[in-house]
């Protein structure tokens, strides 16, 4: 039975490292290849040994698809391709291809900088990995091979984020990655065709949340920064190199302009230029407003935001500094934090999640006396704020997307089990669609009924037409013919044509047996009675069907001179009808693929 199989190696009932294996019509695809920043050993990566057991990775996997540049979706990619040994194609959008190595490099530098990280990839590995990437455009159908095709759709969330449709023949799966159904400062809302896939694999981070307006959060953020600067304080915003940082930069830049503020804003790692470059390059991926105003003024050419120098941290007076890394666990952001933490006028705004084992996690959990190296204690007097700026669809948005795509089934990933459970019930009850939420390592199997196109010979169609029956799309009807399976092509032709094409002679089997009759009547009379009886009950003739498909791809039929394969007499009740829609040229034949039987099928006249 054909089926689609999905096994999350990560993101199954958690928000850790996304990595989902999909098997569709014999093709194996890996969706995302993320890392978990909470570990500093091999547990940071998905356990790929479950794939390598099936042989060489490159032979097993047909492709890897990366939905966007966040590390929980792409962080394990260099490890997977350069250390585990995957040598096949990796697909992602153009912006993701451009930004992904920057974030990977940024994280690598932090990992090496911190020390104590084992088995980590190098800069050269990141570059070699990125050379294997095939970049795709939105709505471009990319042929991975003769059968497997993928198509990217806009997902919002971050620059370059995409949903992917994976299609083999008539079977398809849509993977959303992370997405946002409402536009934000610089990105638009996710959009996808009503593609009715067999399965929609969707993220469910905010499965139970109806999020407050992003405008409110932005207002709140600006108010807090403004207040801190007004009272002469310094504001530290720890960020990762690209992504949320740019959104916050746009916010502050616009606010500074409007309020005519003079306090300097600094960006610590010279990333503004890089961000500008990519946001300019991929301006078509931003929202309509940014695209429209681009000609007059490029949103990403910041007037108020300047490059930071380490010496500036000691300058008197207020300032705002964006510094990496985002979790205050090494490098410059941590150094600035240590300098500023003791002053209650200052403020640190954490715009994202921090894993345990970082200073960011500590201050977010309310700890105010931090032990530093050498048993020193740092008293945190500065104001600590948390503002989530992650752009995910909320419960309403997820339901909206499911309604838009109209899948046969939904599979939830990238969320917490309890929240998923709630959304699962909602989807099943309100949308009447089966919903699954496998844990990591669990496989969901969905049977499919693939549609196999079959060409119909003109002769056969004409013969049907001659009977006075015109094709009617609303009234499918049965059409009898002989199915020829040759070189992966299926054709329905008349039996005569089949014999002619295959150069075969018609067989007639005569079954004889000796029967002793005890009949008191005369011999002639008895023979007549037996003949009448047989004429009434036995079929007039029947064809022979052969057991297995031709090993060389050709169709075989029994020949009178040299029979091939096991011969089986096929009584009329075994003969198959082919349900055919009366569209000329080809028609879908619902049934299992690659079936072994081949030969001539017919119905008794």
């Amino acid at each position: 039975m054909p089926e689609i199989r999905v096994t999350p190696l990560g993101a199954g009932q958690d928000v850790g490292r996304s990595c989902i294996l999909v098997s569709i019509a014999g093709k194996n695809v890996m969706l995302d290849c993320g890392m978990h920043m909470g570990f500093n050993d091999d547990r940071r990566f998905p356990d790929f040994s479950y794939i390598t057991r099936s042989g060489r990775l490159t032979d097993f996997l047909d492709c890897v698809i990366i939905s966007h540049f966040h590390l929980d979706h792409c962080g394990a990619l260099p490890y997977f391709s350069e250390m585990v040994g995957y040598d096949g194609p990796i697909y992602m959008t153009h912006p993701t291809q451009a930004i992904c190595p920057i974030l990977l490099e940024d994280y690598r530098k932090i990992a090496v900088d911190k020390k104590g990280e084992a088995n980590f990839f190098t800069s050269q590995m990141i570059k070699d990995c990125m050379k294997k990437v095939v970049a795709v455009h939105l709505h471009q159908t990319v042929q991975v091979d003769d059968e497997l095709e993928i198509k990217a759709y806009y997902a919002g969330h971050v620059l370059g984020a995409a949903m992917f449709q994976i299609k083999v023949g008539s079977e398809s799966v849509v993977y959303t990655g992370d997405y946002n159904m409402t536009p934000d400062r610089h990105l638009g809302a996710a959009w996808i065709d009503r593609c009715r896939p067999n399965l929609l694999i969707t993220e469910s981070t905010y499965a139970t949340t109806i999020r407050d307006s992003k405008r409110c959060r932005e207002r709140d953020f600006l108010k807090k920064v403004h207040e801190a600067v007004e009272r002469g304080g310094k504001v530290l915003i720890p960020v990762f190199a690209l992504g949320r940082a740019q959104e916050l930069c746009i916010l502050l830049e616009t606010f500074w302009e409007r309020m005519n503020l003079k306090a300097p804003i600094y960006f610590s790692t010279g990333l503004t230029e890089k961000a500008n470059h990519y946001y300019k390059l991929f301006i078509t991926w931003t929202n309509q407003k940014i695209r429209k105003t681009f000609v007059q003024r490029n949103m990403f050419e910041f007037k108020h935001i300047k490059a930071f120098d380490r010496a500036f941290a000691d300058n008197p007076g207020p300032m705002v500094v964006f510094a990496t890394p985002g979790m205050l666990h090494a490098g410059q952001s941590l150094q600035i934090f240590r300098k500023w933490a003791g002053n209650e006028k200052n403020m640190v705004i954490m715009p994202g999640y921090c894993v345990q084992g970082t200073v960011g996690h500590k201050i977010l959990s309310g700890q105010r006396k931090l032990e530093m190296e050498g048993r020193q204690v740092l008293e945190v007097k500065m104001q600590v704020e948390y503002m989530s700026f992650s752009a995910h669809a909320d419960a309403k948005g997820i339901m909206q997307l499911v309604g838009q795509v109209e899948p046969e089934g939904v599979l939830l990933v990238h969320g917490e089990a309890k929240k998923m459970e709630f959304l699962k019930q909602k989807i099943e009850q309100e949308l009447r669609v089966s919903c699954y939420m496998p844990a990591n390592g669990e496989t969901v199997t969905l049977p499919t009924s693939p549609s196999i196109p079959v060409g119909i010979s003109l002769g056969l169609l004409k013969r049907e037409m001659a009977q006075g029956l015109l094709p009617d799309a609303k009234k499918p009807r049965l059409l009898h013919g002989t199915l020829i399976m040759k070189d992966s092509n299926f054709r329905l032709v008349s039996s005569e044509q089949a014999l002619k094409e295959l150069g075969l002679a018609e067989h007639q089997l005569r079954f004889t047996c000796r029967v002793h009759l005890h009949d008191p009547r005369k011999e002639q009379e008895t023979a007549l009675r037996v003949y009448s009886h047989l004429k009434r009950w036995a079929p007039r003739s029947f064809w022979l069907g052969l057991g297995r498909s031709g090993a060389r791809g050709g169709s075989h039929c029994a020949s009178r001179q040299r029979p091939q394969g096991p011969l089986r007499a096929a009584p009329s009740r075994w003969v198959r009808d082919c349900g055919v829609h009366p569209h000329p040229g080809c028609c879908p034949l619902r049934g299992p693929r690659h079936q072994g039987a081949a030969g001539v099928l017919d119905l008794p006249g």
Binding site: T7, V15, G38, F39, R43, Y50, G55, D59, H70, L71, D72, G88, P89, K109, V112, K114, K115, G116, E117, K127, K131, D146, E147, D178, T205, T209, T269, E273, D309, R310, D314, H329, A330, G331, L334, R338, K339, G352, Y353, V355, Q356, G357, T358, V359, H361, K362, S365, G366, Q367, E371, E373, G374, S388, S390, A417, A439, E442, D487, R552, G553
Partner: protein
Amino acid sequence: MDPECSQLLPALCAVLADPRQPMADDTCLEKLLDWFKTITEAGSSLLLLQENPCLVELLCHVLKPQDLSSRVLSFSLRLTGVFAAQEDCFQYLQQGELLPRLFGEAGPLGGAAWTAPTVRSGWIQGLRSLAQHPSALHFLADCGAVDTIFSLQGDSSLFVASAAGQLLVHILSLSMRGPAEGPPGLQADDWPACAQKIVGHIEESLRSTAAPQITQALNVLTTTFGHCHDPWTQVLWVQLHPLVAALLEKDPVPAAHSLVDLLLSVARSPGLSSSSCGLWETLAQTLSHLSPTQAGLLALGILKLQDCPQALRAQAFAVLLQPLACVLKATAQGPGPSGLLDSTSADSVTADILLPSKAACVGLLCRTLAHLELLLPLPQRPCPWPQAPLLGAAVTLLQLCGGSGSPASDEGRQLCTLLLGCVRVQRAALDFLGTLSQETGPPELVTQVFAVLLEYLRSPDSSPTVLKKAFQATFRWLLSSPRTPGCSDLDSHALLFLRELLPVLQKRLCSPCWEVRDSGLEFLTQMTRRWGGQAGFRHALLASEVPRLTEQLLRDPESYVRASAVTAMGQLSSQGLCVPPASPEHPGGQQKSLLGELLHILSTDSEGFPRRAVMQVFTQWLRDSHADVVGDTEQFVAGVLQVAGQDLDWEVRAQGLELALVFLEQTLGPPRSHCPYAVTPPVAAPASPLTQALQPLCRVRLFEFAFRALFDCDRPVAQKSCDLLLLLRAKMASSSSLQEPRSSPDVASVEAALQRWRAGDQAQPLGDLEPEVVLAVLRSMDLEGLRGALAESSDHVEKSPQSLLQDMLATVGILGENEADCY
């Protein structure tokens, strides 16, 4: 356990036992378990439980019917296993009936929590840790755990199923280790009941008609024979061998992949492969029963074995070669054997798989090429190695994929249709072709190799990944091209090829794809490094536009390419190959020197890769006494250190220290060997006193750079600087001109400035330093202590167990505010 942690533990256990307090960060419990494992590995678990009764209370508490998180339950099961791994602690927990309540029918096993895979996984891992002693075996038998493990082998979770299989192997191995009085006898009937039960289950599974059960049994056996080489494994194999062999009689062979793994595991096992238990016959049978796609891996495994009958090796090699033999046969220009395999003409099976479907054909060819690529470098590879036909096959495949093959036969044409433009086969064939360069081949074939490589490098249809592999293969073949013994120069044929290659490289350096430009530059760097000194190469290169294009790529929009261009230019310059002729458009125009250009990149490039590449080139130049550097080395070093010191990328700063180290060694002489037995040349101590020798270092402001780096917020920079200063101090100690420390106002002011730097205020420069002051400051610094501190990770305090416990306690009650977010 330190007292601080011990104090925090009761509160933490209370939090864990409270179902109203969910754990937001799933890594915390993992890290907590890691910590407990470390503690129990170092000391007594029993003592730990007695000193911290809250732990047992927690384990008891999780058994109460409540809505406890499955993660905490799983954690508790695993934690119990960790404690019970020590027999006295096991007995202690047994007395409290805790173990049967956690792992028996009465525990989570029978409850709703069992539906969560994480609980099932915790149950297995708990038992895995616990099963370390004979008492544990009795416990497993009493609580019926083994039957549950059997059923968990078919669990819906891959992780659980796999762990269950491994636990079975562990229990089997443990029970066969036997009690203290000695291991069980070699007769299977004498084996312990637990072992007999597991073996009985394996036998039953092998007899099953269900493929998943057979797979499970085979996997358990594979792990057993892979990990355990005790004599009883031979008995086990003898007992199970007929059942395994019987699988080959089924059509199709069930669980073929697992069967191959098992047979190879047995063959690798030293005790089993030498015993006459029909292993080689079974391997031979399996080779002939499996389809070519399945048999390849087995064939490779057999050929990798150290000791194996020659006939079996020959059979395995034939299986491995079959697909390529078919390709050669299908594309042969005339009748006759292809030279690869003469006896495979009748083997239609491979041809049947190759020809009808593209997917099968591509899959089989890629696997075959990969297997042969792995085999070639091994010492136990078959001898004689059919180098020529294999070269022919690789070239033919590349021709078929590239569209230049024109086979005459129907089969060949069909193959051509299937492979035309197939990137997967192109990649695999180029990798294989590159590996084949380890051996030589007939000249006409080598010519074909270069021709097909050139064809790929030229072809507009070659994808960037294919081009990269074509460049790599070309370099390998150039390396292996025939040459005069003892001379590394390229021969005349290679030089002819090079003349054709350089225009192609030129074109590729202008490719719109950054990947291609970058691969081209990497190739150029490799070639220049290898043959830059050879006249033929130099002539050909200088006659081409390649150096000029490389120079242009220093301004490429892609930073990776700029970095590769910097490296390539550095290499060309080192070999005197980047002297560009005066431009005809600007005959009088000033050619900007490469040094100036690279310094410009170092100070202005917005990305780290090119700046790092510049620093590497400069360091190499300094090491090699490059002409541009030798002129005024001090000015060069001073300039570079000044720019590098201000760089935002810590790797550039670290590279600056590398350059400083080279300069220091050149000025003061190389470091002394640490090996007491090494024949050390006389120390290249400066002829003049040390203070005088330090003058150049002071003039280039090396010490200001190093002291600033010593307090860098990025730890590797600080560590490197610390090493450099320690080296200098070691030189001071060995110097005969060592003087007594001297305090002076200058020294005090420098030390005060360094204190401020250490506190993070690095605004004020140190100014001009005198060697005496430097020496005095170096003597007074606790560099050893600093090195010890820097050896730890920068977040070791946050990663400590105490910090973990504090964090877990601190998050209680604030989850609503900062709900699980992502990046």
